[in-house]
């Protein structure tokens, strides 16, 4: 008789998920499912609202990466106000937005690494939850904890000076931005007192990468083997194939690195991507139409981006990228925990880009906005820290939103996360009749590698609250474990 194990994170905010693992009488895993309750009311909520409200309204979708929503919506509205599809803005318009985005990227990646993943690396996946958190790091590795806090603060300052506020700003408006960067503001970031300046951020990003690579060297088997699986990968890339998280064309590659989506214009994303609804989940499952539901799902996020792009534009990150690619002989990397490696390369890249942008005099230009003849439909796509984010709006003649469709990064990663959980369940649970601490942590680590919103939301202190129940077919609980 099959039994069900349910791992339920008890959450404090709207995004929440639970894992159900079904085992048979012999303890073999038959199936596993990750349920994420996603807030979809937003698409209804914006209907009828003035279109220019969207970039400010949508940020409320997420307390973790509001800037990504802000910018994706603004990019969609650029199209609507006739400012072109991503390249039509003035130099200061585009560069201020990029600065805002890289600032957000940097702080989000730093948060993930120092607060969420580093505790696992330092204290082990099955380490004592009482020390396996940022507080534990602060006690045992105070310098690392300080770096985490200061790097995050730097990213937030970049956001504040570009968007007006650290969280939920208004900087990006349809067709451009509402402020440039004054010399004084620039110098705050460029020449800020140690350690809050761009050069230090580059230096510390290199340090964080070294920390990971060292950990990898000593734990190669675990890092490489944990929830490793083949998949397709999708992201934006710049037209010449460079990593570009703000704008580009859509590219997807398969497990061998063969292009399966050929650098297409995202204005027509719905020609290539379809979303499947499954009865047991509120969250849809996107896939590439050409390949169909079973073969067309893909991963997004740091790993996917480094798998799709050809090179990185900044020298230090490019050097790291080459090492990363060499590890898999140039082939796409399917190892879930290498997500952390990719994330840190992107962190370094962001620090380099921020530094270079700050040195660009275009940021002090005054021509903030471009507009042309209005269109009724616009799509904005951006690489959010967690992966590709789609915003699609349509408006009527009275400037009201008539349709909104969003595909958020976590939705894009729905199938990959399910796959990772399944692999972990098989590796850690088969043949077991009891739910151990190690099992719960392993499932948590697998989910966390993808950095879904629910993990950030529930996991700020390094411990995802979980409840694990083992039930039989009649739904009688045989064993329950909480932490």
């Amino acid at each position: 008789m099959p039994k069900k194990i349910t791992i339920e994170p008890v959450t404090r905010v709207e995004g929440h998920g639970k894992v159900t693992i079904q085992i048979d009488d012999f303890g073999n895993v038959r199936d596993s499912r990750l349920h994420i309750v996603e807030f979809r009311g937003f698409e209804r909520f914006v209907q009828g609202r003035p279109y220019w409200e969207a970039p400010v309204l949508v940020q409320r979708l997420c307390g973790i990466c509001p800037v990504s929503h802000h910018l994706a919506a603004a990019k969609a509205l650029d199209v609507i106000v006739g400012a072109g599809t991503g390249t039509g803005l003035t130099a200061v318009g585009e560069k201020m937005r990029r600065l805002m985005h890289y600032g957000q990227f940097f702080q989000s990646h730093v948060l993930h690494f120092f607060h969420l993943s580093a505790p696992d690396f330092l204290f082990g996946i099955d380490g004592d939850p009482l020390v396996r958190n940022i507080i534990g790091i602060a006690q045992e590795h105070p310098d690392l904890a300080v770096q985490g806090v200061m790097m995050r603060k730097f990213g937030q300052e970049v956001i504040r000076l570009t968007a007006g506020k650290k969280i939920h700003g208004t900087g990006a408006i349809p067709g451009g931005i509402n402020k440039n960067l004054s010399i004084a503001e620039r110098d705050e970031l460029l020449k800020g007192a140690d350690p809050l300046n761009a050069d230090k951020m580059v230096e510390w990003s290199v340090g964080a990468l070294d920390f990971f690579k060292n950990y990898h060297k000593n734990n190669q088997e675990m890092v490489d083997g944990f929830a490793s699986f083949p998949s397709n990968h999708l992201s934006l890339v710049r037209e010449d194939g460079a990593l570009d998280i703000y704008h580009g064309v859509l590219r997807a590659v398969d497990n061998d690195g063969k292009k399966i989506l050929h650098d297409v214009d995202y204005q027509e994303y719905d020609k290539y991507i379809e979303e499947e609804v499954r009865s047991w989940s509120y969250m849809k499952f996107p896939y590439l139409k050409d390949l169909g539901k079973d073969k067309g799902w893909y991963r997004v996020g740091p790993l996917a981006r480094l798998n799709t792009c050809d090179f990185i534009t900044t020298p230090l990150a490019q050097k790291e990228f080459e090492e990363f690619k060499a590890y898999t002989n140039g082939k796409p990397n399917g190892m879930s925990l290498h997500m952390h490696w990719a994330r840190l390369i992107e962190t370094l890249h962001s620090a380099e880009v921020i530094r270079d942008l700050l040195n660009d005099p275009d940021l002090q230009n005054e021509d903030l906005v471009t507009k042309g003849s209005k269109l009724h439909k616009g799509v904005g796509v951006i690489e959010a820290p967690r992966g590709t984010l789609f915003h699609h709006y349509e408006i009527n003649d009275l400037d009201q939103i008539t349709l909104a469709n969003l595909i958020v990064s976590t939705t894009n990663n729905n199938q990959p996360m399910n796959t990772a959980v399944n692999l972990t369940a098989n590796a850690f649970m088969n043949g077991q009749r009891e739910i151990t601490e190690g099992m719960m942590n392993a499932v948590e680590v697998a989910i966390r590698a993808y950095d879904p919103c629910l993990s950030c939301a529930t996991h700020a202190m390094g411990q995802m609250p979980l409840e694990v129940s083992l039930v039989n077919e009649a739904n009688e609980i045989i064993h329950r474990r909480t932490k």
Partner: protein, 231 residues
């Protein structure tokens, strides 16, 4: 003929001109009495009660009451401060005021009063009324979610024949201030901009201005409402 009047606000002697209202005299003397519906240049109607003061233990609206010799006005006392705060709270709960995404944020008088009176959580339950948005004019949007029915638009926005662009519609709890559908279609640009400016909240929005004004430079970003009056 002596045209001046002497009276007291919270014990301080204020000299005013005959015929001035308490609000006018107080503001001229650098004493802030909060107002919302009151608007320079139009006859005060006393509909919001924000300016409530106490005169001889009676509540009066300071925007409608003329000054008189020897009058003793209580203004900045705990009781009135709390009453004004409760009026602000009532306005917040009877509409849908979602400041974080409202483009009037930072320039909104209601929001600024909320900050000045340190409104955190309203003591009344939210009513979440079902309200619409009228976008039919090519120039402005009228968002009913945010209207506090102060009538400032009704009193100040008129065509060359004195005809009102805005008027009441419906009764009792269904009452709304609406834009005349026909007049809205041909509304001149300057009048549309003035309508947005005169509305204390974000109920009248000039189309496509949006969030052009960055955070930090908006009217109430740096100093609280009333500080322009206070000495």
């Amino acid at each position: 003929m002596n045209n001046t009047v002497k009276f007291k606000i919270d014990g301080n002697i204020v000299t005013a001109e005959k015929g001035q209202t308490i609000v006018e005299a107080a503001h001229a003397a650098g004493i802030y009495i909060p107002t919302l519906c009151n608007f320079k240049g139009v006859k005060p109607k006393g509909c919001c009660r924000m300016c409530s003061v106490k005169i001889n233990s009676r509540y009066m609206t300071a925007c409608t009451t003329p000054v008189s010799d020897g009058m003793e006005v209580e203004n900045n006392i705990d009781e009135l401060v709390d009453m004004r705060k409760s009026i602000i709270e009532l306005m917040f709960v009877s509409g849908n005021h979602f400041c974080p995404s409202c483009e009037k944020s930072g320039n909104c008088e209601l929001q600024a009063l909320g900050y000045r009176y340190q409104m955190l959580v309203p003591r009344f339950p939210f009513s979440f009324p079902q309200k619409g948005i009228d976008a039919s004019s090519p120039k402005i949007m009228k968002d009913q979610n945010r209207c506090i029915m102060c009538k400032r638009c009704m009193k100040t926005i008129k065509d060359e024949n004195g005809k009102n662009y805005f008027a009441f519609k419906n009764r009792s709890n269904k009452v709304e201030v609406v834009l005349d559908a026909e007049m809205g279609k041909t509304m001149p640009d300057d009048l549309a901009k003035l309508a947005m400016e005169n509305c204390p909240v974000g109920s009248i929005i000039y189309k496509e201005i949006g969030y052009n004004e960055p955070i930090g430079t908006r009217k109430y970003d740096k100093t609280p409402i009333g500080s322009e009056i206070e000495v």
